[in-house]
Symmetry: C2
Subunit: 332 residues, 2 copies
């Protein structure tokens, strides 16, 4: 059975398709009587206009595109959660794409969004100067960047204050007593580098610091523990670990259990992000909260604002980081 179209309705109601179109999108333009007549027919066939055709003819799609680095990742889940809440409430639909940390995919994703005429885009970009951000800017589609800042004064973004977060951690570390501090660097993301910069600056030369880089999975975090036992004697020297995100911290935690290292007596561990599991895991994690969920909400609200008024000035939000002290660290 062929789909019923606006023409069928028009025929049945004895009017032109233009009138039917008006009844649907600009009802006030059509006479009370014809309007109800047409409405009746629409009801009768429970007709719904073809969204694709509408978009092609220039109407908004009520879809907004969200592109993140990795979907099944606690950080982004929290983020998307916040986003989806407000997107839905405003009667838009979320379209989600993961770049899986691949620049090509990221670019492809935003192309895909552009082609399907989303009304706006929310992106947690690879880096603020990625190709994708350029394309986005040129596209003219409203967008806001999440979890990154930008030097371009025309772009809207929402980001945590990573530098300050790093300092917060360092200030806290100073209240602990340890023989060494180890930084576990998890990625090249600019926010992570900012955290480290803040951390080092605040810590100064208070205590010896060593760093490990490129720890990208929970398993490699876990495996790193044996290396640190070997190389840094963390089982004998009292040490504090600053792992640049909670997810990897969880892996390190697992490694620590496996090596029977006492937390927090022997080793203290601090994460970053305050993902949901952080408070529920075996040893609740001391970490920095930047209210990811909230970040998502704000970003989505900004975007909706931008869509409604594309001429509005860009808004930039910086989320204040907060240190949450839990059982994985011990003062003394």
């Amino acid at each position: 059975m062929k789909n019923t179209t606006i023409v069928d309705i028009a025929k049945e109601a004895g009017v032109s398709k233009a009138t039917v179109s008006r009844v649907i999108s600009k009802p006030y333009l059509v006479n009370e009587k014809t309007r109800s007549k047409v409405r009746a027919v629409i009801e009768k066939y429970s007709f719904v206009p073809n969204a694709l055709a509408q978009s092609l003819a220039g109407m908004p799609t009520k879809n907004i595109g969200v592109i993140v680095d990795e979907f099944p990742n606690d950080f982004y889940i929290d983020l998307i959660n916040g986003i989806d809440g407000v997107i839905n409430a405003k009667n838009y639909t979320t379209q989600l794409i993961s770049s899986y940390w691949d620049k090509e995919r990221e670019l492809k994703g935003i192309h895909s969004f552009l082609l399907s005429h989303v009304d706006g885009i929310l992106m947690a970009p690879f880096s603020s100067e990625s190709e994708a951000t350029k394309v986005l800017k040129e596209s003219g589609v409203p967008y806001v960047l999440v979890n990154t800042t930008s030097n371009d004064p025309s772009v809207s973004y929402v980001c945590g204050d990573s530098y300050k977060g790093g300092r917060l951690v360092a200030a806290f570390v100073k209240t602990l007593s340890q023989e060494q501090v180890i930084i576990v660097d998890v990625s090249g993301h600019s926010t992570v580098q900012e955290r480290i910069r803040g951390f080092k600056e605040e810590l100064g030369s208070y205590v010896p610091v060593v760093s490990y880089e490129g720890v990208k999975t929970m398993d490699s975090g876990k495996a790193l523990v044996r290396v640190m036992v070997e190389r840094n004697k963390i089982d004998r020297k009292k040490t504090t670990l600053f792992v640049l995100n909670d997810y990897i911290a969880l892996g390190v935690l697992a490694g620590l259990y496996e090596c029977d290292i006492d937390i927090p007596r022997q080793v203290s561990i601090i994460g970053y992000d305050d993902i949901k599991i952080a408070s529920m895991c075996r040893t609740p994690l001391t970490t920095i909260s930047q209210s990811i969920n909230h970040m998502g909400k704000i970003a989505a609200q900004s975007l909706i604002g931008l869509i409604r008024n594309p001429a509005a000035p860009p808004d930039r939000h910086i989320i204040e980081p907060v240190l949450i002290e839990r059982a994985s660290t011990a003062r003394s």
Copy 2:
């Protein structure tokens, strides 16, 4: 700057737009020489065809719609994770909508998918006889149901064997020693009811059983603990709790800690689903795994199969449940 279209390319290359269209979608139909000429122009303007127009003209969208009950829910996250992996690998894009447990939204969601011409739909429906499933069936769009079964022999689905899972739990409970068993029922979802049915049948009258119903949030799970202390003396009578999903079980766990009840000495607790946190939380949870992630993968594969060959017979997969014993229960 106006978008460049197929016509601009045609003009510049000195051919008709039909030829350009062919170069794009059916290159083998066009002469080697013209082809490369056209390709050059396409390159030059880095032209990308408008997907909307393509779809309107009848081409597949390469989008598949996924509709779940609640996005930020560990169960669905695992599921979507599995789904998205294969969808992406097959070069489709996932479009995600949450019904937030609302039938209206569920229906609206599938309408939205239909209108945007997704090539296929994956749905974890409210109930197998919901309005949405009817609409889906009538639409003619390939779809597969997830986490539910169906009596209609023409529909494809992937579901865990809930009845058997329930029995598995009961069989395990028999190996424990307790004075009472309490069932914490979390929702009206048919799979949950099946689990309970299996559980009760296998358990028989082995031990007194009481049930609590309608526990839908982690917090209410937590609050329930005080009630159970009051009413069922779980702080004095040795008891086993069968909580119908891990998420709520986590809430109950929190309540148990708060009341200083020893797990598993005083109270054993068993969940269902084996969500990710289950193995990482303070007291790792004994639970039933139905490989949610795997379920998602299979569903997605089925769907892709159906899309490629709509005439293919429906396939139905039942996932075998497995009991995973962890620290939240103690034998003897």
